[in-house]
Symmetry: C2
Subunit: 189 residues, 2 copies
C-alpha cells in the first residue's frame, strides 16, 4: 500500500517556524536529494490554507535551477486539499468530510507514495487518526528558543521506530521513522 | 582548554520532560557508552536544585550493575554548584557570583572535560554567557506533544556546527554540535 509521508524541517529545539513565522534558518542543500523525494511521490495532501499559499506557487524567474525543478516536480503531482469549505478547483481534488475513509481509499489505489504537506492542523488530524506511515524530520543545526512547535495538541504520544538517518554536509540530520505498531483488535483474536 | 559539555536527552519534538515532569520515555541502552562519557570528564556543574536532587543520589540496591557503575563514576567527580545561596558543603564547591570569570578560570585549569548537568536555568545562563563548548543532544524516538522545552528564554538563536552523530540500537540518535564561532573583538583588529 502507498505510504503517507510527513516531511518536515525542524530546529534542534523542535520548532518548525520562529515566533514570527521565520523559516530563514531552513537549509536546502544539493546533497539532500529533494528531487529523489519528489520523484518517489505522485500525490500531495494539503490543508486549505497551505494549498492557497503554496499549492500553485511559482518561484521567481531568477530562482536557482534546483528550486525551479523542484517546483515543477511539485506541480506535476495529483493534489488533494482537505478543507471544511466545499470548494472546487480544476487543479486539485477537495475533500471536506469522512477524511479517514477517503485517505484509506486513496492509499489503496495503485501509485507512488503520498506527501503530507501540511499545515499544522491537517498534520495533527492525520496523526490523531493514525494515517501517517512515515515521518521524515530534518533536524537543522540551530536552536531558536521559541516558535511554532513541531506537533501540538496530540491526543497521545507518538512512539516511533527509527528506520534511517541521513547526514548532510550542512549539518542537517534527517531522521526517518515509522510509527510503532499500535495494538489493533485483530491482535487479540 | 577543557570543554564544557551539555548532554541532554530530548524527544523528537524538543521536550526534555513531559508536561508533568515525565522522563519515562528516556532510554538508557548499553551501546550508548555512558561510561565512556563519564570517564572523559572530571568535573560536573550543577544548579542548586539539581544538586540537591541528584548531586548525592544513591541508586537502589537492586539497580542494574551499569546504573550502579555510572553513579559511582558520577560521585567520583569534582562537583561545582552554582547557587544564589551562599552555601557550604564538603562534597562540592559553591559559586554564587561572577559566574563567567569563575567558569573560565576552571576551564583553564589542567584536567578533563566538564559536564554541565543542569537544570534549565543554569543551562540558560551558560548559553547566554557563551560558556558551552559542546552540545550533545540525544533525540529519542518519541513525540510528546507538550512538555518542558529543551531551551527557553534564549537571548538569541544558537547556531551550531554538527560534529558527529551516533545512532543507537534503540533508535536514539545522538547529535553532537559545537556552537558556531561568533565574531569577537579580535576578528576586527
Amino acid at each position: 500500500m502507498r505510504k503517507v509521508i510527513l516531511d518536515l524541517a525542524v530546529t534542534l529545539d523542535g520548532f518548525i517556524e520562529g515566533p514570527n513565522g521565520e523559516i530563514d534558518w531552513c537549509i536546502m542543500d544539493d546533497d539532500m536529494n529533494l528531487d529523489d523525494f519528489i520523484s518517489g511521490i505522485d500525490t500531495i495532501f494539503y490543508g486549505r490554507v497551505s494549498y492557497d499559499a503554496w499549492g500553485n506557487f511559482q518561484p521567481e524567474a531568477n530562482a536557482s535551477p534546483m528550486e525551479q525543478m523542484i517546483w515543477q516536480g511539485v506541480h506535476s503531482k495529483n493534489k488533494v486539499v482537505f478543507s471544511s469549505q466545499n470548494r472546487q478547483d480544476e487543479k486539485a481534488t477537495f475533500i471536506s468530510t469522512d477524511i479517514a475513509n477517503k485517505v484509506v481509499e486513496i492509499k489503496e489505489q495503485e501509485g507512488k507514495d503520498i506527501w503530507l504537506y501540511g499545515g499544522a492542523s491537517l498534520i495533527r488530524t492525520f496523526i490523531n487518526l493514525g494515517l501517517i506511515d512515515q515521518y521524515r524530520v530534518s533536524v537543522h543545526p540551530i536552536a531558536l528558543g521559541s516558535g511554532k512547535p513541531l506537533f501540538d495538541n496530540l491526543k497521545e504520544r507518538i512512539r516511533l521506530n527509527l528506520i534511517k538517518t541521513n547526514v548532510f554536509k550542512s549539518g542537517v540530520v534527517q531522521l526517518i521513522y515509522e510509527p510503532e505498531a499500535t495494538p489493533s483488535l485483530t491482535d487479540f483474536l
